[in-house]
Amino acid sequence: MNLWPVAAVTFKEGIRNRAIYGISLFALLFLVASQLVSGMIMQDVGKVVVDMALSTVSFSGLLLVLFVGINLMAKDLDRRTIYMVLSRPISRSQYLFGKFLGMALLIITTVALVGFFAVAAIVLTKLRFPNFFGQFTWWLVFLSIAYTTLSLILLTALSFLFASLVSTSFITLVLTICSYLIGHAISDVKALVETPQAVGIQVAPLTVKLVQGAYYFFPNLSLFDIKTQAAHGLAVPLASICWTVVYGLGYTAIVMILASLIFSKREFP
């Protein structure tokens, strides 16, 4: 397979994108803020700083996928630069998977960079308030960052699917944001409609069925969110890690295969 050249070009193009500086700046500012906030907390300082650090990592990753990732793929179609690529001896699915590989590398690099700052912020707080870190374990922090990476790669795969379906990058962006929102809310919504008495509302049986159906259709991104566990040092069993990784990779593979099927059949104007 001839994936590497496309992947390398995509990665370089992404790294050169100025948006990356903005994202890094945002991450740095947020981590400085975490230092200020942690001074206001009475007891659970460790929890708050881990919350803020890990949230920074996932939010900057999200910005990367939405504002750099989508441009890399969808702008090729928008600006018709794709004709140049397709005239070369490379198949359409090779192009698609190469782009995806480059984007995945870009995500891993950026998350590693922001993750480094996040870890630095935690270390700094730990030095300042060593007695206020309850049951804290480093490996859960790293696991959480790895989970975030996996969920961002899944989201990128979805954005590729949307890009091969629709004609403008703006619609791809909107659809990706929608899937992100649904993906993180769906399991809470399912829990809510299955036990509506918790907030004293009534839910029609049809709605429950619809939500349960949607639960299998949309990606359940909340599976990759173990920030609470990491913040409190709660146990994450090995079986749950294995199943989550299998789910993430499986869903990504399904979406990418669908995307390449659609993309190969697509007619360009």
């Binding site: 907390i41 009475m42 929890k47 919350d51 890990l54 809310a185 609470t228």
Partner: protein, 286 residues
């Protein structure tokens, strides 16, 4: 010439911007607004949905909001410092914070230090702490707080004993707690038990403001305890209760009557129990 027109326009528009901002903001303030007292609290399960993957962060912010609000009331001159509906709002905010992250220690801790004391929200605080006790199942302080509230505010020794037993089983709890639990189950020696309780709380406390509050209460309770012991020994020596607390000093059982740190005076009621005119509350809170 071509450059002059935009510059003149800018010079004219900048003051207009400042003036319009000012008046627009004033006019907005005058718009009819919902009463803050009746503000609706969003239920936890809904908040969990809207905060997406940032539940923990949302919980931190909700807690800080409550904390900053409570801190800001110290600047107020009016009495009581915090109104009833504001206590209710604090309770709702702390509930929301712990719905978002039920493992977060600070909201429980802050609630125990404020809501049952001046806010008189004892049952609500217990409800909150029961959640804390369920999720933070390694933390002995959660059932300890509930036990303390049952003993001190609700005067229910049997319930208090049950919660303390639970606390004594958790890691890190001291031997005192187990003996407190048994003492509560056996007899109602309230003042001494309360002192032991408060001393236990004080050793755990790191917040200076709350510490100060506990210390004042401890001092008052110790005063009552000294008086109670003196009354008991008066009873034993003379076969009848003293007519007033001054009798204790006259008979040299006490050198002097202790001072109530809340600003009241200790007295002996008809049943022979030691009370204080301050009712163990700061004057301004009454």
């Amino acid at each position: 010439m071509r450059r002059v027109v935009p510059i003149i326009l800018l010079c004219a528009l900048l003051p207009l911007h400042a003036v319009s901002l000012r008046y627009a903001a004033q006019a907005r303030k005058a718009l009819p607004q919902g009463r803050e007292e009746a503000a609706y609290a969003i239920p936890g399960p809904i908040l969990k949905i809207t905060s997406l993957e940032f539940d923990g962060l949302a919980s931190d912010l909700m807690f800080l909001r409550a904390l900053v609000f409570y801190g800001s009331t110290y600047e107020r001159k009016e009495k009581p410092r915090v109104k009833d509906w504001e206590w209710q709002r604090l309770y709702r905010e702390l509930t929301a914070a712990t719905d978002l992250d039920p493992y977060f220690r600070d909201p429980y801790y802050f609630a125990e230090g404020t809501l049952p004391w001046d806010g008189h929200l004892v049952n609500e605080t217990n409800l909150l702490l029961e959640k804390g006790s369920k999720f933070r199942d390694w933390d002995w302080l959660m059932p300890f707080y509930v036990g303390f509230n049952h003993f001190y505010f609700l005067q229910d020794n049997a319930q208090a004993s049950t919660y303390l037993m639970e606390a004594s089983k958790r890691p890190g709890s001291s031997v005192t707690i187990a003996s407190l639990a048994t003492r509560l189950a056996v007899k109602g020696d309230r003042t001494e038990t309360a002192i032991v309780f408060l001393e236990q709380l004080l050793t755990q406390e790191k917040d200076e403001e709350i510490k100060k509050e506990y210390k004042v209460r401890l001092k008052a309770l110790k005063g009552i305890w000294v008086l109670e012991k003196a009354v008991a020994s008066y009873n034993a020596s003379f076969g009848k209760p003293p007519a007033s607390l001054n009798a204790l000093v006259e008979r040299r059982l006490l050198r002097q009557i202790p001072v109530d740190p809340y600003g009241g005076t200790f007295y002996l009621d008809e049943d022979g129990a030691v009370k204080t005119t301050s009712d163990l509350r700061h004057k301004e809170d009454k």
